[in-house]
């Protein structure tokens, strides 16, 4: 990508093409589509205005701006079914195989049940592809604290998935407590 000095508009165009879909996906995990559009526009407006501050590895910086924009707009927390819908909007589409559809639904339902900080920690690394230090910066904590958070989140997610699997036909758990509400 060209640097801002080589032409601000060309630099911005490259920045947009490289990162806008990922920033949008990040926003869609936290807010509805209309608000995600606001967050995306505002994030890149800030990037344009502060273009001299945008580092070469821009994605973590953009996600921090998006995170702050989401926090500053003071939206209420999403309900569980809204969290599942938000994750479903951005997660990779399932294959046609029935097993993949069920696996996707179970995983999204379990992710939606995690505390927000745990879910963010897992998805910043697994979905956004950030290294621990960059993910920690986006999460607003130290790398050490982030590693602890990821470890804790893995444990919780594993327990939720086991409970969901136990709830399959023939399992021991009440299935209704774990059923996924699909995206809108």
């Amino acid at each position: 990508m060209r640097s801002p000095d080589a032409g601000a508009e060309a630099w911005f165009d490259g920045l947009w093409r490289a990162h806008a879909p990922r920033v949008q996906a990040y926003a869609l995990r936290h807010v509805g589509p209309r608000d995600a559009e606001d967050v995306l526009a505002e994030t890149f407006t800030v990037a344009w205005r502060r273009r001299q501050d945008v580092p070469a590895d821009a994605l973590p910086w953009l996600l921090v701006v998006a995170r702050n924009t989401i926090a500053n707009t003071r939206r209420s927390e999403l309900r569980h079914d809204e969290r599942v819908a938000a994750l479903s909007r951005v997660a990779a589409a399932p294959d046609d195989l029935e097993g993949d559809v069920a696996e996707r639904a179970v995983m999204l339902d379990a992710l939606a049940r995690l505390p927000a900080a745990d879910r963010q920690a897992l998805l910043l690394t697994a979905w956004d592809g950030l290294a621990p230090a960059a993910a920690a910066a986006v999460a607003g904590c130290s790398t050490t604290a982030f590693s602890v958070r990821v470890h804790r989140a893995r444990g919780r997610l594993t327990r939720l998935l086991r409970a969901a699997e136990a709830a399959e036909p023939g399992g021991a758990t009440d299935r209704t407590t774990l059923r996924t509400t699909r995206g809108r």
């Binding site: 505002e42 344009w48 921090v64 926090a71 939206r75 927390e77």
Partner: protein, 250 residues
């Protein structure tokens, strides 16, 4: 299949909402069509003023009206000073009108299902800090509020942490946030519980001088306009005796 593989298999591919992406790009490009010096002042506000959801308009209408009143005052008061520039290390009792607006703004961000009540308010310069707690659960929030010509009046951090109650003369740190506001810049806030007999709390930061917190009815709170983290929080009794310090930071 291991957990990481299962998670990565669902990683987003392509563009989730192409139409939303195109609309956002158009809005940003409109902002770029003016010189950067104008953009700094106007483009971000233009994005902010775009109509949002009905729920949010309802939540912010009283603040917009208040901002209009303040704008009238400022026309005769000369150029406004940046809100965070008025910050002081020692708090003052909040102006009743400002505190009411700040609390209204703070309440508008409470999650559905909570029954928030205000437990603390303080003022430093023109900025009001409000702490709310849920009557029924562990949720609490610290809102830093200043008057702006924009929809949202306050910025906040919230937590669902509920530490053990502090011993007499001690502290329990409930929430701490370091973040950034588009209008005002960096800020940090701490809030928590003050044990019986605690009359004063001093926050020593990793960078910057000490900050005197507000102590009210078993709660304490303070904020400052940087992202320097709290290094220690020290309680003091009425006779000046220091209690056990609590470590801040992450």
């Amino acid at each position: 299949m291991d957990l990481d593989t299962r998670l990565r298999a669902l990683a987003p591919v392509g563009t989730a909402d192409p139409e939303g992406l195109a609309r956002a790009r158009e809005r940003v490009l409109r902002g770029q069509a003016v010189p950067p010096s104008v953009l700094d002042a106007e483009a971000v506000q233009a994005v902010r003023r775009r109509p949002r959801s009905r729920r949010r308009l309802w939540a912010t209408a009283p603040l917009a009206a208040a901002a209009a009143v303040v704008a009238g005052v400022l026309l005769t008061a000369g150029p406004p000073q940046p809100a965070f520039a008025t910050w002081t290390a020692t708090p003052q009792a909040p102006d009743a009108g400002a505190a009411a607006l700040a609390e209204t703004s703070c309440r508008s961000g409470a999650p559905a299902g909570t029954r928030p009540r205000a437990v603390l308010a303080e003022q430093r310069g023109v900025v009001v800090l409000t702490v709310l707690e849920d009557r029924d659960g562990p949720w609490s929030t610290g809102c830093v509020w200043s008057r702006h010509d924009q929809a949202e009046g306050s910025i906040a951090g919230a937590t669902e942490v509920e530490p053990p109650a502090p011993a007499p003369g001690g502290l329990a740190l409930v929430g701490q946030v370091s973040t950034w506001s588009q209008e005002d810049g960096d800020w940090s806030v701490v809030w928590g519980w003050a044990g019986a007999g605690v009359e004063r709390v001093v926050v020593d930061r990793e960078v910057g001088g000490p900050v005197t917190a507000t102590v009210t009815d078993g709660w304490f709170a303070a904020w400052w306009p940087t992202q320097a983290q709290a290094a220690t929080l020290t309680p003091y009794a009425a006779d000046g005796t220091a209690g056990p310090a609590v470590a801040g930071g992450w």
